[in-house]
Symmetry: C2
């Protein structure tokens, strides 16, 4: 291991690379990590100097508050390689901003921009050979922060660790996705943390999703917890409905994540003169549209899959099959967004940032 320090980040390079042992043709999402990771510790009010070092397990106290009280937040982003072997980020400012909003909601310290942005860029630069020059391939970036401070008393920690890990990804294909509209379980409370990318929001979904899986559905369309009448998210994604050639999606709120893919798709759709209506969508509207033939498409949106088309949904034990689309808006929007991300189309929005 060689040590190189510059002014802002300490870099400890791995002496060897795992890259030759990785089968890039058969990557399963989120399970392989690159050679390096970034660590930045926060101790009683002060962020220490970030360290980039070989990816490896680290030591933590059994009483660390992340294990007991769930102070843990994350972001999901991707880096893409263009035809010139340059690496690009997509709207990293949005993820950075949301990360610190999540931090605030979980009573965690905000991460300085230099640590998040420069740290991420330096890390990706070092592991650049892990980003493949191929449409569909990308490098999934996972910044996260955990409470490392010890003590089994329910109060915010004094010590935190911010980390970035990287995972090479292939185009995400999840097969045919059938969903079930939630009638009992929910993912977020009014006045809760649904809008934060907080670890605790996800584990809460696993059991209801397992029940849905057992019934033959891959995901759940979450409804508001109080009345189960409003359609809010799909699995861990935002959700769009195409009814009578208008795209509907719920407004962001303290229950609904302000998804970067969601807002990018809205912007592209508006640029393309596709009608978009951002407002609460009722389950009964969805059923009516399915029954009178105006429901054309449903799709989830998120960083991992970009767009995840849904083939049908179940509600109150009745299954509604969606019509096959020759001109799927979901796939058109996905292609337009991907083209911006891979620098195959002009980035009229100024969303891409070169590393």
């Amino acid at each position: 291991m060689s040590n190189n320090a510059n002014d802002n980040i300490i870099i400890k390079k791995s002496e060897t690379s795992k890259i030759d042992s990785v089968d890039f043709e058969n990557l399963s999402f989120g399970n392989v990590f690159t050679d390096h990771m970034l660590i930045c510790d926060y101790k009683q009010g002060i962020w220490e100097k970030p360290v980039i070092q070989p990816y490896e397990p680290f030591l933590i106290d059994p009483s660390a508050k992340v294990f007991h009280y769930g102070q843990a937040i994350f972001e999901g982003m991707k880096a893409y390689k263009d035809g010139n072997d340059d690496v690009w980020l997509f709207r990293p400012d949005q993820n950075y901003e949301r990360f610190n909003k999540s931090a605030k909601r979980l009573a965690m310290p905000e991460v300085p921009e230099a640590v998040f942005m420069e740290g991420m860029k330096k890390l990706i630069e070092l592991d650049k050979q892990w980003v493949k020059n191929e449409v569909g391939s990308s490098l999934y970036i996972r910044p996260f922060m955990i409470a490392t401070g010890p003590g089994v008393v329910a109060a915010p920690a004094q010590f935190y660790r911010f980390m970035i890990i990287l995972s090479p990804a292939k185009a995400y294909y999840s097969g045919e996705v059938k969903v079930i509209v939630a009638e009992h379980y929910s993912r977020a409370a009014n006045g809760g943390i649904g809008a934060a990318k907080a670890a605790g929001n996800y584990s809460a979904q696993f059991y209801p999703t397992k029940l849905a899986n057992e019934m033959g559905y891959q995901q759940i369309i979450w409804t508001d917890d109080a009345t189960h009448t409003r359609l809010e998210e799909a699995g861990t994604m935002n959700v769009f409905f195409r009814i009578n050639d208008t795209l509907y999606t719920a407004p962001t709120s303290e229950r609904i994540l302000d998804g970067v893919t969601r807002k990018s798709l809205i912007a592209i759709a508006e640029r393309e003169n596709i009608k978009v209506d951002v407002r609460p969508i009722l389950v009964e509207e969805l059923i009516a549209a399915a029954e009178n033939g105006t429901l054309q498409e449903i799709f989830g949106s998120g960083t991992a899959a970009v767009v995840n088309p849904i083939v049908g949904f179940s509600y109150k034990e009745k299954y509604y099959e969606l019509p096959k689309q020759e001109n799927s808006l979901a796939l058109q929007l996905k292609a337009m967004l991907n083209n911006i991300q891979y620098k195959l189309a002009e980035d009229t929005f100024g969303w891409t940032v070169k590393i």
Copy 2:
């Protein structure tokens, strides 16, 4: 370090003890741990043999799902020493049962009774000198389970770690507690995980509690997230209201934790012919009782404090001071419960279990 294995648990004893360095007169809750801890790993369907070993940090992968998706649950229990230096547990069956309910809700594997119970007893036996023979002193027991399985994909892990750590505790005194009734924030959703002792439930409370602290209140009385009209919990405790000599507490639900102290206090109160009414309590009932002088006491109940009397509450920017009680039911019930726990009164319920 010496190794002793018996049939069921591997014991690696610490060669030295930290106990002489601990100031037992000035313990702050949950910050000092005993010499040993228990670890039991779950790997793809199988619980390995539990290991009792010196308390120390452990290695974990940065992509462990506990950090990203919050699969983490815990229990809080106490051990007490009687006049004969025997150590007693209080209703451990209830904690064990609830632990596995939490596990199920978070899509985690259930922990075998032998691991949880025998492991806990063996561990406490080994660190028995940490339990002081003194009313008020106890050994706080923290069983917990985390998802150690790697991968940044939102799905249940394949690997888990169950642990028990122990922390010596003094009588818990939190000073005068003023609370604020939640009008916006909430701790649990309908169809959510509020009834589970899931890590994610706690970090969600830190920010609203910080806001309350800044306004001069120590805790929040949580209301239902949909209407904020029903009184549900106080801080991380269940909550009781004494109005016109009847004790009211909300029924357990998927939003409200089935507290062991809560149900023990209800049983003792009923034995003592104190009227108890378990039903949803409306904020407007509380205000009316405060205004017409029938509100006598409010107190939280939980393992750490047993009973936490509240001196006043705020609602819609109006502060309601509670009357001073010469015969506080809160303190009477606490004394009766403590007497059972310390074996100073007959345990008519059969709640105590000797180690």
